[in-house]
Symmetry: C2
Subunit: 188 residues, 2 copies
């Protein structure tokens, strides 16, 4: 087995998800995950701190969202920056090819209180990171925190719809949710 | 010591907070809290499941907020219902007499990662409860979730300002925060 395997991370994530879906998160060990991926247990721990980490996506979502906000054109307002972030997620994370994986991951998290709790805590950290990215663009308070919160509400609502049925475009769903939230906010 | 003490709960909360501030949350035992309150350890466990619970306020905040939303006049819109909830918190929880207690509680929570985590999870539950209370009034989606989220953002922002300096009116701060958030949302 090669010391350096560029696909190790993905293989471990895939193997873990398959085992979690089949036999449950609690009954799956790190050793089993590594074995199923055809890798050593030590390789698992080079990529993830523990079993819970294997489902976190290495905070890829945070990097995607904050990176897209930072990369939005200088003239883009906070709403446009958030729209760019949602579009980046649709283009790179919640794609047609990843639909089944994302759906299975959601099921595993929902079935396990420990993972659900972790997800809620990550959601708070994500909101803070997105707010910070908007502030970096010079967006003042309370608009920065508001745009971040509405963006993440739109993301969650769109994700629930998107995972429920294959063949939908995540970005379109998310932008429609954001529009609905902004309209509801303006009418409040 | 009387078997039934109507002030036992408050005395235990007060004693716990004093000990947490003075010697730290981790180094304080339930036995010490009970002793300082002049009550038996068994009395502590009639009121609280564990040491962490003594700081939770028995979800009083959730009851206050959802109760006020339910009690708002039938003609009140979602924003007015949330304003009523913030006013109820200002009148009953974040009062001048409780300023020092609330401030100390915030400090203890902020200094302890375990308590901070618990607080974040409770925040999610609070948002869900407030959204449900608004839905009960017939507020449609996504307005219900939005009004709840904006109300809790206003509450958090106002609480930070209010605890920073005594002598301020919590309700006035919270309503001003809510107005600022709604204006920012309308301009997004």
């Amino acid at each position: 087995m090669a010391r350096w395997d560029p696909n190790a991370r993905q293989r471990l994530e895939r193997a873990a998800l398959e085992l979690f879906v089949r036999q449950g998160y609690d009954r799956t060990t790190v050793a089993e995950i590594a074995e199923r991926a055809g890798l050593a247990k030590s390789t698992f721990f080079r990529h993830f701190a523990d079993k819970r980490e294997v489902l976190s996506g290495g905070d890829a979502l945070t990097r995607l969202l904050t990176g897209a906000v930072a990369a939005a054109p200088p003239g883009a307002g906070p709403r446009q920056a958030v729209e760019a972030a949602l579009a980046a997620v649709g283009a790179q994370a919640f794609t047609a090819e990843r639909h089944e994986t994302v759906r299975e991951r959601q099921q595993v998290v929902a079935a396990n209180p420990e993972l659900t709790e972790r997800e809620l805590l990550k959601r708070e950290a994500l909101a803070a990171a997105l707010t910070a990215a908007l502030r970096e663009r010079g967006v003042p308070e309370p608009t920065a925190v508001l745009a971040a919160v509405l963006g993440l509400l739109a993301l969650r609502a769109a994700l629930a719809r998107w995972t429920a049925r294959p063949g939908q475009d995540f970005t379109a769903l998310a932008l429609a949710e954001l529009t609905a939230l902004c309209e509801a906010a303006a009418a409040l």
